[in-house]
Symmetry: C2
Subunit: 154 residues, 2 copies
């Protein structure tokens, strides 16, 4: 499968190769393909063939999952990538910016949590009324709507 400079597939990877190289199970690749997260073409014998760029996509998927992003959301973001060619600098920068923002947000959340926690350890946190890690809705119930201490669910 080598077509040269027309820009079409030069390397092709079988599903097993992709699985081995990406560290995900073959069944997972089938699943991702069904979900439209990755795509490829078929060999004459109906076997899956992928471009090398697919490895990158999978890496992106895995990292995104680590950030707690759902596959649906990841799919939406990947839509910005070419898919048919290896993502270029611009494609990459676009998606990386989103990622970076998620990372920063998430790290910020956790740091805030940590600071609160440290405060709590110091104070012994015996007072349900005063604890900054306390459930948001409780004060809200007692004092009306106000700032949330912890978001409901990420």
């Amino acid at each position: 499968m080598i077509f040269g400079s027309t820009g079409k597939p030069v390397v092709s990877l079988s599903v097993g190769e992709v699985a081995r190289r990406s560290g995900v199970a073959v069944s997972t690749l089938h699943f991702y393909e069904r979900k439209g997260l990755i795509s490829g073409w078929r060999s004459s014998g109906n076997q899956r063939r992928y471009e090398r760029a697919t490895l990158r996509r999978i890496a992106i998927i895995k990292v995104s999952q680590q950030l707690g992003i759902s596959l649906a959301e990841i799919k939406a973001r990947l839509a910005a990538l070419p898919g048919d060619r290896t993502p270029g600098k611009a494609d990459w920068a676009r998606i990386a910016a989103d990622w970076r923002a998620d990372l920063d947000r998430r790290i910020g959340q956790l740091e805030k949590l940590r600071d609160n926690l440290d405060g709590c350890i110091g104070c012994g946190c015996l007072s349900v009324e005063a604890c900054p890690l306390r459930n948001p809705a409780d004060r809200a119930a007692a004092e009306g709507a106000g700032p949330r201490y912890l978001e409901p669910r990420r």
Copy 2:
């Protein structure tokens, strides 16, 4: 339900009150109770009654979930708390230390990821071979077992 200084229940909260004050649904409280994450007693008419300490437990559960800890794991950690009385300073310190470690670990992971990402943005990440965000298994396949860049799954 006020028994005074024997140390037994002084305040009692209905499931609805707990729900309102903790911000979780009643169905979720039933669920948590079934799972053994929280407990209480029953009124003469078979209605759930909870201590105030339960609010604290729920806050802990919610915060732990934000860290990506499963309910099973949370349950195990909560086993260290009294349950029958409001957790004291020592109980609290014990569990907070675990939490803090998780937080640090998780923040560290994300920061490492961010640094790698920044490196990638700089380099344009056009080289599949060189990208530090690359899938771990691929190099492993090419070069034998080595350090992992990204853990398989948290």
